[in-house]
Amino acid sequence: MGETGFLAALPINEFVFFINKGVLAGLIIGSVYALGAVGVTLIFGILRFAHFPHGDMMTAGAFFALMLTALFPNAGAFIGLPSAFVLLPFAMALTALLAIGLDRVFYKPLRATDAKPIVIVMASIGVALMMQGVIRLFAGTTARQLDAGAKSIYRVAFGGRDIVLTQPQLILIMFTAVAVAALHLFLTRSRMGKAMRAMSDNPDLARVSGISTDHVVRTTWIIAGALAAASGTLLSLDVSLKPDLSFNLLLPIFAAAIVGGIGQPYGAIAGGLLVGFTETLAVFNWSVLLRPLQPLLPDWIEVPTKLAFVPTEYKIVIPFFILIAVLIWRPTGIFKGRLLK
């Protein structure tokens, strides 16, 4: 960022820098949030509680991928993709099983006694703590690398400077796109998808028309668990696997789900991208873009060297303010989700 040659060059360089550090970075983190928020919004819509262990479920999924990679380190070598990604379907299946198991043991008995929703939320916080404890007990608290080898990097030349994207980042973006399309088809075309939407819209009516609650609940956990595992694994492939992510991931994901409207999977995707972009652009150093304008500006205006809306260490404030703004002005979210009362 601080190279002098770069600063003296044409504005196109700054523009590419903006694409790399602003647009692409936002798209990447936004995809992670989106995949997480879909799960949260489905659980919120169908089981009607805020699922606090979602960040830990993502971490757990990434750990399943890590363990599988340790067992079959060469799984991906002959296709040329990271092993963790090739083994991802198994990690997703394991996480889905874990999600169903947790539901059986901890939430179902509470639902059966007609506990208040808030009691289930509290139990979910208990589950989150348990998962955190187990993950850190077995994995320690240090960050790990999911993919030992060097990442392949793709460069697209663009006016003298490259748009840079690593392989895990490309996989993440493409996986999100495929997952969104698949989810759309599932929810609109399949019997189960329609049953899920019916359950989310009006549980009583769905039940009397013969939709099996158990089936719908199980499918919800499968989708939420699988997507959580995918986003956790792909995030860890991109950066590293940190066992203490949970609460840091939770706030942006909840913000995304609420911005998109509870019970609205498409909204959750839009919300995830919105939160991701806002977060990235808020900590982005805008003076890089403004500096080429310096010669055009009068002398008394000087472009400062650092001009970000929010210092990086306060990044967590962004999703919170998005959340607050939505709750004040449009509690149903931009996609008109349900306001749970």
């Binding site: 808030i118 939320v121 208990g126 404890g133 850190r136 706030l251 919170f320 509690p331």
Partner: protein, 422 residues
């Protein structure tokens, strides 16, 4: 069925035996420290039982309210830092404050322009622009001020005022923050409040950790002044006993006040709102207003307890605030002791804290011996950070305790006394 009195008696005597064992085993100084900390947690738990037990409010951000209150208390009671007052810092901070006040006034003015017939979309736009300009202007003047303070005076220091005033103002700060959160989330379902409070607590922690000019950040501020003579003057046991007398007095006063309030028409109204919102609303009770009242009141007590806790530790370290120790541990105390039962909450806090503090050596003992035997029997090599990992076991146990209590003893050890008027 065991009667309420028997339960209470059994609980009290059980805790007394535990405390006696700790005193015998680890000495009076350690036992006193444990009791003081447990009493501070009991104060915080009383605040939470008001919110959860009386009003059904889910506060998942206790840590943030403790942290803000401890910070304010530190700011009020820490000795004056002359380096800061002799520098340009105060003047620059004054300018920043002036900008903030003027900017906030202009922003508020714009937000009211719809009263003069301006369409709401322009109003929102103007308000947002005014807010953003204010933010940038204040940040612009605050940045050099903080750099200057950090380089010349390290941090702003305190005001050197009495400690009790610090606790009180700290409690009020926590209450004010709770008011702001409550205003936004109270009309919505409880889940939103849980999310918002969790978020605000992480933000408060991030702020205190990074605002080096206010809190010295990771360098920590110590020693915090005590409201009673310090160990240097009286020795550990006596000074801690004096501290305990302060916190215990606070607990007794609050307990009596709450018991009276709980039996009053006001308490009846609160129970009605908690148990059946709809019919309470139909009786003309302003539910959200009452809940806001409870949230703020509970937060003030949480703040006072939190300030007492941090003052006792005598060091203000923003990084030491953990959701586990300062939020969820307190949740376990309240739901295990009996939400909505003041005595149950206090006893639950004592019991859980004794178990909690003993669990650290216990976990280390179990894990070290387990690793030793695994090594002897199977040649298994324990990872180097076994001690850190062993302590993570406590996270698991707290989580398990929450889920088990909610499922098998949802009313706690001492259930709420159901008052019947016949």
């Amino acid at each position: 069925v065991i009667s309420y009195q028997t339960r209470a008696l059994a609980l009290v005597s059980g805790i007394a035996v535990l405390v006696g064992l700790v005193f015998l085993w680890l000495g009076a100084a350690y036992g006193m420290r444990m009791l003081v900390e447990a009493s501070c947690f009991a104060l915080i738990a009383l605040g939470l039982t008001i919110q959860w037990g009386y009003a059904g409010l889910f506060n998942a951000g206790i840590m943030g309210f403790i942290a803000i209150s401890a910070f304010v208390s530190m700011l009020v009671s820490y000795p004056v830092n002359n380096l800061f007052w002799d520098s340009d810092g105060p003047a620059m901070l004054g300018w920043a404050g002036l900008y903030l006040v003027v900017g906030a006034a202009i922003t508020y003015g714009f937000s009211q322009t719809h009263r003069f017939g301006l369409p709401t979309k322009y109003r929102t736009l103007l308000t947002l622009i005014a807010g953003a300009v204010t933010y940038l202007a204040v940040q612009n003047i605050l940045d050099p001020a903080t750099t200057l303070i950090e380089s010349q005076a390290r941090f702003v220091g305190g005001f050197g005022l009495p400690v009790w005033l610090g606790w009180l103002l700290g409690g009020i700060a926590a209450g004010a923050l709770g008011w702001a959160v409550g205003r936004i989330t109270l009309g919505l379902r409880a889940d939103y409040m849980a999310i918002a409070t969790l978020g605000i607590s992480e933000i408060v922690k991030a702020f205190l950790k990074n605002a080096d000019w206010l809190t010295k950040g990771t360098l920590t501020v110590s020693p915090l002044p005590w409201p009673v003579p310090t160990p240097n003057e009286l020795g550990f046991v006596l000074s801690r006993a004096a501290y305990l007398s302060v916190t215990a007095t606070l607990i007794v006063i609050l307990y009596i006040l709450f018991e009276r309030a709980w039996a009053s028409p006001w308490g009846r109204m609160m129970r009605a709102i908690r148990d059946n919102e709809l019919s309470a609303a139909a009786m003309g009770k302003d539910i959200n207003r009452r809940r806001l009242e409870m949230l703020v009141l509970g937060n003030i007590i949480i703040g006072i307890g939190g300030a007492a806790l941090i003052t006792f530790s005598s060091i203000f370290d923003p990084a030491s605030f953990q959701p586990l120790n300062h939020t969820f541990l307190i949740w376990v105390m309240v739901i295990l002791g009996g939400a909505g039962n003041n005595l149950g909450t206090i006893l639950g806090a004592l019991l859980v804290y004794i178990i909690w503090i003993m669990s650290e050596p216990a976990a280390l003992f179990v894990f070290e011996h387990g690793a030793y035997w695994m090594n002897q029997l199977f040649g298994w090599e324990a990872p180097g950070d076994l001690a850190t990992r062993a302590l993570q076991m406590r996270v698991f146990v707290i989580g398990l305790a929450i889920t088990l209590v909610l499922r098998f003893a949802p009313k706690g050890l001492l259930p709420e006394k159901v008052v019947k008027y016949e």
